[in-house]
């Protein structure tokens, strides 16, 4: 269908929300901002969900595309240029009105604005900036904004977007260069990693300028974790020492590089090498048709205060979980991303380069990756502890934490009244909150299992791995086979349900087929 001019707002919303739904990031977290008189909105660092759609995913932001017109032809995407779908585009004012009115009714926490590549990346990014500028300026919106950086857009437009939004993201989509070559003919790794690198540097510089640490804050407990992926990192800013190794250790092995210092000058002609965003002057009036106010370097707003995120598609290309998790860790360490999201591949298009259309959605795999992602960010685990070249994929029936514990039974059982925070946190069934409660409470008295239960420890999981004052809860052998069987039996139902979320595929048991009775 070609450009339809007279679509109603409702029809547009239908088309452009439907087109945006495969983007998974719907979080409104990462920044605490108080409300202001005369403005609308505030922001809570923990993020606030406002509803849950019937696929069980949270709805926090008004997640829409500015337009689903797209010049690119990424094979997996519903909006690819060669697909025959209804196309529409909002006007900046329509996006603003929707955001403001939804926000006042407490339907949403803010705006998530992405877009197909309309005409060219610069034109698209310009429309996005125009919208955000209107929303922050004229509409006095002070709530959360998550904006997509369109790969290939000029740096100054990306910079402008960064000052107006709270979070910026560029989707990596596929973790390997090879996968991208096959599935995204118009994009390559460098196009994505370069803006990501520049955004990371600009964030770091802005944070230093206002007296914060260059790196984003991580979970409260992580300062007690000496070996977490976040300890001992550095991010390069202008004026800091030369980076030791471009891309950090292991980058080359992952095939990920944003080309470091070399090569950049040729891409952004006329611009200084590795210039961070804030060094640039905003474009003059008329170049992109942006309002003059946007040219001012300091818009009295911090630059991307909630950090960057990205997402990867799971199951469209043959990467292993190990590779994905290593990539994730690398993105956290080297680009200081706030979040990495995973999106189970949903077959939408038929193409020789894609898995067949009846491929089941790898929901359990996605679930395991998220579990592991949490272990990296909150529990002090590293990718290499959870998986390896020899064991490149997650256990189907055990979550990554239990799996790790069972392979390291020599460390268990742990005495809760003495073990350090980092070790208690590694016990299955104990989370950062309950671990912190344990170390605080035990200073004033001795803990037993009844107390742990009150503190929120999941004893049905934890009791295999802990002692209180030298005693285990039941007489259980600390023996791998036994505990594995117990834990798997407990999780079986839940795992089955995650793997078969599509529902309705229950089958009536048949005497003839299932028990081999033939008439």
């Amino acid at each position: 269908m070609e450009i339809v001019s007279e679509l109603s707002l409702q029809e547009k919303l239908h088309i452009l929300a439907d087109a945006a739904k495969y983007d998974v990031a719907c979080t409104s977290s990462g920044v605490d901002r108080k409300g202001k008189q005369g403005y609308l909105g505030n922001s809570a660092a923990a993020g606030i969900c406002h509803s849950f759609s019937s696929d069980g995913r949270c709805i926090s932001l008004l997640k829409i595309l500015f337009t689903n017109h797209c010049e690119y032809d990424c094979k997996y995407c519903q909006n690819r240029a060669s697909n025959d779908v209804a196309r529409a585009a909002f006007t900046p004012r329509e996006v603003c009105e929707l955001t403001i009115e939804f926000y006042k009714r407490n339907y949403i926490e803010g705006l998530f604005l992405s877009s197909g590549v309309w005409k060219n990346p610069a034109y698209t990014m310009e429309r996005i900036c125009e919208t955000l500028f209107l929303l922050r300026g004229e509409y006095r919106f002070n709530g959360y904004i998550h904006v997509k950086a369109i790969p290939g857009a000029p740096d100054d437009l990306l910079a402008a977007a960064g000052y107006l939004a709270d979070r910026m993201s560029v989707n990596l989509e596929l973790p390997t260069e090879e996968g991208m070559r096959r599935l995204t003919p118009n994009k390559n790794h460098r196009m994505i990693l370069q803006p990501m690198r520049k955004t990371a540097q600009t964030i770091a510089e802005h944070r230093l300028a206002i007296g914060k640490d260059a790196l984003l804050e991580r979970s409260a407990g992580s300062r007690y974790l000496a070996d977490s992926i976040f300890s001992g990192r550095q991010i390069e800013t202008r004026g800091s020492a030369q980076r030791t190794e471009p891309g950090g250790p292991g980058t080359a092995a992952l095939g990920m590089s944003d080309a470091g210092t070399a090569g950049l000058a040729t891409i952004s002609s006329g611009m200084k090498k590795r210039a961070a965003f804030h060094e640039m002057d905003m474009p003059a009036d008329g170049v992109y048709g942006l309002p003059a106010a946007l040219r001012r370097r300091d818009l009295h707003r911090p630059f991307v205060p909630a950090g960057q995120s990205t997402q990867m598609i799971i199951g469209a290309t043959p990467e292993t979980d190990y590779h994905l998790l290593k990539t994730t860790q690398h993105l956290y360490q080297d680009y200081d991303l706030k979040r990495v999201f995973f999106s189970a591949y949903v077959p939408l298009n038929e193409d020789a380069a894609l898995p067949s259309p009846d491929t089941p959605v790898p929901l359990l795999r996605e679930h395991r990756l998220y579990q592991a992602d949490w272990l990296l960010r909150f529990y002090g685990f590293r990718a290499d502890e959870l998986l390896s070249e020899e064991r490149p994929n997650f256990h189907e029936q055990l979550d990554p934490k239990c799996d790790w514990a069972l392979r390291h039974l020599e460390l268990f059982p742990v005495e809760v009244n003495r073990a350090d925070y980092a070790m208690i946190l590694r016990v299955p069934g104990v989370g950062p909150k309950s671990a912190m409660r344990i170390v605080q409470a035990r200073r004033h008295g001795t803990l037993d299992f009844e107390h742990l239960k009150k503190m929120g420890v999941v004893l049905k999981r934890a009791h295999y791995f802990i002692t209180c004052s030298g005693k285990m809860m039941y007489r259980t052998p600390v023996e791998e086979g036994y505990i594995t069987r117990q834990l798997i039996g407990m999780d079986e139902r839940q795992n089955w349900q995650i793997a078969h979320r599509d529902g309705g595929k229950y089958r009536q048991m048949s005497l003839f087929a299932d028990f081999g009775i033939h008439t």
Binding site: L13, K36, C49, F52, G56
Partner: protein
């Protein structure tokens, strides 16, 4: 056994704690209970305590000064929960607190402390639910929302909305307790009890819907990925009773 009773307001509860403490009857000889008292027990004296701002203030100041701000936060939240015995639970918590001081909230191996933590978590969780699932509708130039929380979280939620929408007129109504947080434009919000007539008039605001309600429903439908449909997961995150006033489910 002497039983001190009071109304459900926070001020009354704090006054009740003040009177109970100063009765000097011995902690084991008294009990605190919320009104209405369904059935009086034999061999018990019942003393009804009226709210007194000065006395309540003394108690809250003492909690902050002699125990900690965190303890006060937990006491307030626990007092807003819907557990019948919450007043006595708070009293026992404070009896321990005034003897141990700052360490109180860390002493989770004491049943008094664990109990208050549990109650305060209940209230805090519910307050955050209503931050999420409250829906305002436009009635004239005022945004009105109805909620039916189990815990008394209207004031806590209203503080959140006051920061968020400082320059709008809005009213947040607890349909069950018939109380409301009223927020005039650019001014602080206040809590008020609604008369029957006021309540009846405000009751009808939910029937009004404008174009944005329908647009929101459209968005809600369009954002679902059918290949991942999972209503059980949805119910886990958003239990049915929270959906009563959420327009996208109507």
């Amino acid at each position: 056994m002497t039983v001190f009773t009071c109304k459900e307001s926070f001020e009354a509860m704090m006054t009740c704690i003040y009177e109970a403490w100063h009765s000097k009857l011995g902690h084991e000889n008294i009990r605190l209970q919320l009104e209405p008292v369904e059935q009086e027990e034999l061999f018990c004296d019942y003393v009804s305590v009226q709210a007194d701002a000065g006395k309540a203030r003394k108690v809250t100041d003492a909690i902050c000064r002699k125990i900690s701000g965190e303890a006060y936060r937990q006491v307030f939240l626990a007092a807003m929960s819907f557990q019948e015995e919450r007043l006595d639970a708070v009293y026992r918590f404070l009896v321990l607190g005034f003897s141990v001081g700052r360490r109180l909230t860390d002493m989770l191996f004491r049943p008094e402390v664990a109990w208050i933590l549990e109650l305060s978590r209940k209230s805090a969780n519910e307050a955050s639910y209503f931050r999420e699932f409250t829906r305002f509708s436009l009635a004239g130039s005022v945004y009105v929302a109805h909620i039916e929380p189990k815990c008394n979280v209207t004031a806590i939620s209203a503080a959140h909305f006051a920061d968020r929408m400082p320059s709008e007129y809005w009213i947040l109504i607890d349909d069950n307790r018939m109380i409301a947080a009223v927020h005039p434009k650019d001014r602080p919000f206040y809590m008020t009890e609604l008369s029957r007539e006021e309540f009846a008039a405000l009751q009808r605001t939910e029937e009004r819907q404008d174009g944005y309600t329908e647009l929101w429903r459209e968005f809600f439908r369009s954002i679902t990925i059918d290949a991942r449909k999972n209503e059980k997961c949805q119910r886990g995150h958003m239990p049915l009773w929270y959906r009563r006033h959420a327009v996208e489910f109507q």
